[in-house]
């Protein structure tokens, strides 16, 4: 691979687009120096290659991950693509390249820097998604449940199955502020779509009642003799608090006395 030329890839930012880049890099014998979106203002000194997502090529690469590396490699690459690891495409490309060479043993070599970096990033993604399964707070707006999240990783696709089975008879929306996309669900159908702006309507009276009840419960359940702010922050970092009912104040209510 030493004789491969180095280029900068420009693609649409989607998963099929990325897999198509992998395909192109093998066809043209080019190693990527970086991956960028078309609107990315960064200027590189490397020659640029623009890649259009090609469904069949992407599928072929995706299939090859399972066949040439290991079935687990597919999941690792798919999840790895959702993480917020800096230069994640480059890490994934290097992993795929090494995986093709080494085969199934690659995934078991947990002490390998490539594998451990990706595993760690995916672990953090899964962990954040797990935290959000608990910390998402819905508000009811005329029968529809609405929630907002602000995650570091792109957790929405990971959260989807959990909420779709749990609330299979409800209609709900979860909006991701960081990645500006929303999960829409109604019985039997779901979709994750990009959404630039999202604004929740003002809560109704029942909704306000439940919020008040929940705050009252939250305050009552704490044992004063055991108060331990550090432990609470360890278990539930403050970045989650902003969008959680128990830390919010509704208009017309006394402000919450919190640290």
């Amino acid at each position: 691979m030493a004789d491969w030329t180095t280029v900068a890839y420009v693609y649409d930012g989607g998963f099929s687009g990325f897999l198509t880049c992998v395909y192109e890099s093998y066809v043209h014998r080019e190693a990527p120096a970086c991956f960028a979106a078309p609107e990315d203002p960064r200027v590189t000194l490397w020659p640029e290659r623009r890649v259009e997502a090609h469904e069949a090529h992407a599928r072929r690469v995706y299939r090859s991950l399972g066949e040439k590396i290991a079935p687990g490699a597919r999941a690792l690459v798919a999840r790895g693509f959702l993480t917020c690891l800096p230069e994640r495409e480059l890490w994934l490309w290097r992993f795929i390249q090494a995986g093709y060479r080494r085969g199934g043993a690659m995934l078991q070599d947990l002490a390998d820097p490539l594998v451990s970096t990706l595993n760690k990033a995916v672990y953090q993604l899964n962990h954040e998604a797990h935290m959000y399964t608990g910390f998402v707070r819905f508000s009811e707006q005329s029968g529809v449940l609405v929630a907002e999240i602000a995650p570091k990783n792109r957790v929405l696709p990971v959260l989807r199955p959990h909420f779709c089975t749990r609330f299979s008879r409800e209609t709900f929306v979860i909006y991701d502020r960081t990645y500006r996309e929303a999960l829409f669900y109604q019985p039997g159908r779901w979709a994750i779509v990009p959404l630039a702006e999202f604004r929740a309507a003002a809560p109704g009276e029942t909704e306000l009642d439940f919020r008040r009840l929940w705050r009252r419960f939250y305050d009552a359940i704490a044992i004063q003799d055991r108060v331990n702010p550090k432990l609470r922050m360890n278990n539930m970092p403050k970045r989650y608090w902003r969008l959680m009912t128990e830390f919010q104040t509704d208009p017309g209510e006394p402000p919450r006395a919190l640290p």
Partner: protein
């Protein structure tokens, strides 16, 4: 009384129950609302740092008993309230739909007789399951002294059952909870254990057989109100795991809620939080690390060390067991190394098939080398630049632990020297 006030009174009365888990059962969608997950899920953390996963309330806090350590004892002057089954169902559904909670934790003070109390609990859960079609997690308290048939019905509706053993010995129980008897507590525990076992066999044979307490049973006891040693408590815990097949034993540090002369004086009393923490650590060693209670503590050392965790403490007293060679050691031996947990031990087993491991590699696997370095070799070599002298190791491990204990003074452990 208004619903808001009831919720406050009855949540306040239930909060001293330590158990708040929603784990042990995977159930997909059953057509109504709700699922449960194997690992459970925390929905919030209260100001004391404990997890809030279930709507933990009492059905009522009116009680006929007079247990000295309990806030709800009949001689205590507190506000009393009771939920109607429908109120509680509406509340649970409202909270669950907004993803505030994972389910309901239903307990109750004993009002009337244990049978009456259990019947009211059954009525609430039946309404929730059948009418509201709720399939989230339900943890119910079995009331000692209730008819076994009622306990069985409760277990068919709930996912997890628990009976509180309350205090670690019979003598303490007789002293502080004169209305409760040891055998009255252990009887439902045995019944639940047998019920779970029979139900498992039936479900294996007939898929739609009714499931009795499918997420198992747990219990809890109060630590520090009575003079039992840690050794006594751990041996009891181990017995409960072995004989009663419990999923969990919870410890609850005694909080001064009473002025009774039988209990530690309220003035200046510090709840033994560190001791509780150490007991939980030891409990983990029993459940996941293949330790036995008699290995951790003996006649000469009846209490856990406040300075280092029980695993380090065991390692320091058994230096002949170490160092463990990472590349050849068995899983059980790796688990004994401080700084190596269940996850990293499994990772070591997987990773070393691809080639021998180095200290650099161990770090990438998630092994805490700050601790583990004293107890490991990689291909026969110690970590570079490391000198191992026994007192030095102890000093270093204690220093590592100190920042985590910033809030607590270790003196609290000697509390019972003059009362015991």
């Amino acid at each position: 009384m208004e619903l808001m006030e009831k919720l406050e009174v009855l949540a306040d009365a239930a909060k001293y129950d330590a158990a708040c888990t929603s784990s042990g059962l995977h159930r997909g969608n059953r057509g109504g609302i709700g699922t449960t997950t194997m690992a459970g899920c925390c929905h919030s953390f209260s100001a004391d740092g404990r997890c809030v996963t279930l709507l933990k309330v009492l059905l009522t806090n009116r009680c006929v008993y007079d247990c000295q350590y309990c806030v709800n004892r009949r001689s205590n002057d507190v506000r009393r309230a009771a939920f109607t089954p429908r109120e509680l169902c509406e509340l649970t559904m409202g909270f669950y739909r907004r993803n505030y909670i994972e389910g309901l934790f239903l307990s109750s003070a004993v009002w009337g007789s244990p049978d009456d109390t259990t019947e009211r609990m059954i009525e609430t859960l039946r309404l929730l399951r059948e009418e509201y079609n709720f399939w989230g997690y339900i943890h119910a308290k079995a009331i000692p002294g209730a008819d076994p048939l009622l306990t069985r019905r409760l277990g068919l509706l709930a996912d997890r059952l628990s009976v509180n053993i309350e205090l670690p010995s019979e003598a303490s129980l007789r002293l502080l909870a004169p209305d409760k008897e040891k055998c009255a507590i252990l009887r439902p525990m045995a019944q639940i254990r047998d019920g779970i076992q029979v139900s498992r066999q039936e479900v294996a044979r007939y898929r739609h057989a009714p499931r009795f307490a499918p997420a198992g049973q747990s219990t809890q006891m109060i630590i520090g109100a009575t003079p039992e040693s840690d050794r006594h408590i751990l041996t009891l815990t181990q017995g409960l795991y072995d004989k009663y097949r419990l999923k969990r034993v919870f410890y609850s540090a005694y909080l001064p809620v009473s002025d009774s002369g039988l209990l530690p004086a309220r003035q200046g009393f510090q709840p033994p939080l560190l001791r509780e923490h150490r007991l939980y650590q030891a409990d983990w060693l029993l459940r996941f690390y293949h330790y036995r209670a008699e290995e951790l503590l003996d006649e000469a050392h009846p209490d856990l060390s406040p300075l280092v965790d029980p695993k380090c403490s065991w390692a320091l007293n058994h230096m002949e067991f170490f160092p463990v060679e990472v590349n050849t050691a068995e899983y059980e031996a790796l688990l004994r190394v401080p700084g190596v947990g269940v996850t990293s031990a499994r990772r070591i087993l997987t990773a070393r098939r691809c080639g021998s491991l180095t200290f650099e590699g161990l770090k990438r696997l998630g092994v805490v080398l700050k601790r583990a370095q004293y107890f490991l070799t990689c291909s026969g070599r110690r970590m570079e630049g490391l000198r191992v002298r026994e007192d030095g190791v102890l000093r270093h491990l204690v220093a590592l632990e100190r920042p985590m204990l910033a809030q607590e003074a270790p003196e609290q452990l000697t509390l019972f020297d003059n009362t015991g």
